[in-house]
């Protein structure tokens, strides 16, 4: 366990080494939230609510979705791809730790850093500027944190899959980019899933993506109530468990056919 804690600490240090990224990140997220706020105000145009969400809930949904994204989002897919392309994976393989777990911990380090130093101050700024409604219900907060932890796990597993695919494709920038768009769209980051047509909602309910953004945001905005919350959390937990299988399977295959590039 010690090595994982240490890895999280190292990630913190690395994030601090790139301060400019950090500042520009806050700016970009604020602009995004602002843009979506104005877009949605135009769409609502005085209407009380659309699809059961009021304009305040909608703003909160958007703000929370982006702030949660700061936590679950990471670039380990690109990092893995880079390490494979540059042959650095050789160095990782001579270290006595499970590579994938360590990558996940690096992602977690990055996530915690951004949650503390990015989402929290960002949320304060956003709630001063826009009409965001933060819940006062402790339960909601607890469910929300459990839920974004699952978001992180699901998103990271998908990232691992995309990253490991480099072992077979050698150059998978396209795949990684496509994956990012699919996640942004199907996870409910850009548009709450309840706004999609029924047939699309049906398909998406069989996919893991809603567990990444839609579920935690709906929990936070109290769009889910009572047993819906538990069903949503169970859905996330089940996907977190199911995704272990393809990640592990692909990894076993990848190790077998590992070719270290160069030298």
């Amino acid at each position: 366990m010690g090595k994982y804690m240490e890895m999280i600490r190292i990630r913190f240090l690395m994030m601090l080494a790139y301060r400019t990224n950090y500042y520009s990140g806050i700016l970009i997220y604020s602009i995004n939230i602002g843009a979506y706020y104005f877009l949605w105000s135009a769409i609502y145009g005085g209407k009380e609510n659309i699809q059961g969400l009021s304009i305040t809930q909608m703003t909160t949904y958007i703000a929370v979705a982006w702030m949660a994204r700061a936590f679950y989002f990471n670039n380990i897919d690109r990092e893995i791809a880079m390490e494979i392309k540059e042959g650095k994976v050789a160095v990782e393989m001579v270290r006595p730790y499970p590579y994938l777990n360590m990558k996940m911990m690096q992602g977690l380090g990055e996530g915690i850093f951004r949650l503390l130093f990015f989402s929290v101050p960002g949320m304060v700024i956003v709630s001063l500027v826009f009409p965001v409604e933060l819940s006062v219900n402790l339960e909601t907060w607890v469910f929300f944190f459990v839920s974004i932890l699952f978001s992180f796990i699901i998103n990271t597993q998908i990232n691992l899959l995309a990253g490991i695919a480099t072992f077979f494709l050698f150059n998978n920038d396209g795949l990684i980019r496509a994956k990012r768009v699919v996640i942004d769209l199907f996870s409910g980051l850009i548009l709450p899933l309840s706004f999609y047509p029924m047939w699309a909602q049906n398909i998406m309910s069989y996919l893991p993506f809603q567990g990444i953004s839609y579920i935690p945001s709906m929990i936070f905005t109290e769009g889910f109530k009572g047993s819906q919350v538990f069903e949503a959390l169970i859905n996330q937990a089940v996907w977190s468990a199911i995704l272990i299988i393809p990640v592990y399977g692909l990894w076993v295959l990848a190790k077998r056919q590992l070719v270290v590039q160069g030298g």
């Binding site: 240490e6 240090l13 080494a17 050789a90 160069g262």
Partner: protein, 338 residues
């Protein structure tokens, strides 16, 4: 003494894809691809005993790095058996890599953006090194490699020589009984090279660390290794003491004369006509090189006859360098046994 590395009939073959020519070929490549099977390591066997320092040499693409990668558990062998430190490197990877240290000269294993000591701290945790052992052992390593002042600098700000010394220290944090060095002195200046060699000798003596070293710089091998394993096209072409290799290949010596006045070929040949000598002019007409057999009477005879007649400013006896020997071996493609 027990064998720390045992390799039997080790093989590694890669599929390598080739692209067809032209646009039409590129389209065909989308559906079916041509490939050839390339054997990088072809049926090699050797063993290394505890405490040995072995040089692993070969031209580029001879299969050195591939075999090191199999020995360290990075690559799976296509065929054959490897036992290192009593384990199968690939099967028991996590347990196995705790017992080895690896330095890849061309890849850093320190974290680029953070201070060296943070990397050390992380590695200490990863290898589960107890505090006392770390303090005692690493203090020694840090002092010998003289990297104390570098510890709080981020790796990206270090020079190559500084980084390499830190890499070496990082590979030794858990004081492994076996150390793999893949071109550890590539691109380093003489002083750093000497320091690294001295250090390697020291840990070999102090802890009995077994060292397997690949390098293109043969002076490294000469300074450190008694035994060399030479690879060519995936096969071992020589495995034995460096001394023997020298003795069998370095026939003859060169005597370099620097005269204080002009000398001519004819004159010199006349002087030494009793011995078998090949004269060659050096950089100027004052410098002449005599190639002779490695025989004491011949050498002293030639020197005596020449110096009796001609005044000399300088005299050197040169041995054929290991580098030349290796080059000769590769040109001939096999090793003669004496």
């Amino acid at each position: 003494m027990e064998n720390i590395i045992e390799v039997q009939n080790l093989k590694k073959a890669f599929k390598s894809y080739s692209s067809r020519q032209g646009l039409k070929g590129a389209f065909r490549d989308l559906f079916t691809r041509n490939y050839t099977i390339k054997t990088a390591v072809d049926d090699i066997s050797f063993s290394i005993k505890r405490g040995e320092m072995v040089g692993y040499i070969g031209e580029n693409g001879a299969g050195k790095s591939t075999s090191i990668k199999m020995l360290t558990g990075i690559l799976t062998p296509t065929d054959g058996k490897i036992v290192v430190n009593g384990m199968n490197p690939h099967k028991e990877r996590e347990k196995f890599v705790k017992t080895i240290g690896v330095v890849f000269g061309q890849r850093s294993q320190l974290w680029w953006d953070i201070a060296v000591q943070e990397s050390f701290r992380l590695l200490k945790k990863i290898y589960n090194v107890p505090d006392e052992q770390y303090e005692e052992h690493m203090k020694d390593v840090i002092d010998t490699l003289d990297i104390g002042p570098l510890l709080d600098k981020p790796v990206r700000k270090l020079s190559l020589g500084q980084r390499m010394r830190c890499e070496l220290a990082a590979a030794l944090i858990h004081n492994p009984p076996l150390l793999f060095l893949d071109e550890p002195t590539i691109g380093l200046d003489v002083l750093v090279k000497l320091k690294i060699r001295e250090f390697l000798k020291r840990i070999n003596e102090k802890y009995g660390t077994t060292i397997l070293l690949t390098t293109h710089d043969l002076s490294d091998i000469e300074a450190l290794c008694e035994r060399v394993v030479m690879l060519d096209e995936g096969k071992i072409i020589y495995d034995g003491p460096l001394k023997e290799l020298r003795e069998n290949w370095a026939e003859g010596k060169q005597i370099q004369f620097q005269f204080s006045e002009k000398a001519t070929l004819e004159e010199l040949q006349n002087l030494t006509k009793d011995h078998l000598v090949v004269w060659e002019q050096g950089e100027s007409d004052l410098i002449w090189v005599a190639s002779v057999d490695s025989d004491e009477t011949v050498i002293s005879g030639v020197i005596g006859k020449v110096t009796a007649v001609k005044k000399i400013a300088d005299l050197k006896i040169l041995e054929i360098s290991t580098e030349e020997i290796i080059r000769n071996i590769y040109v001939e493609g096999a090793v003669r046994h004496g």
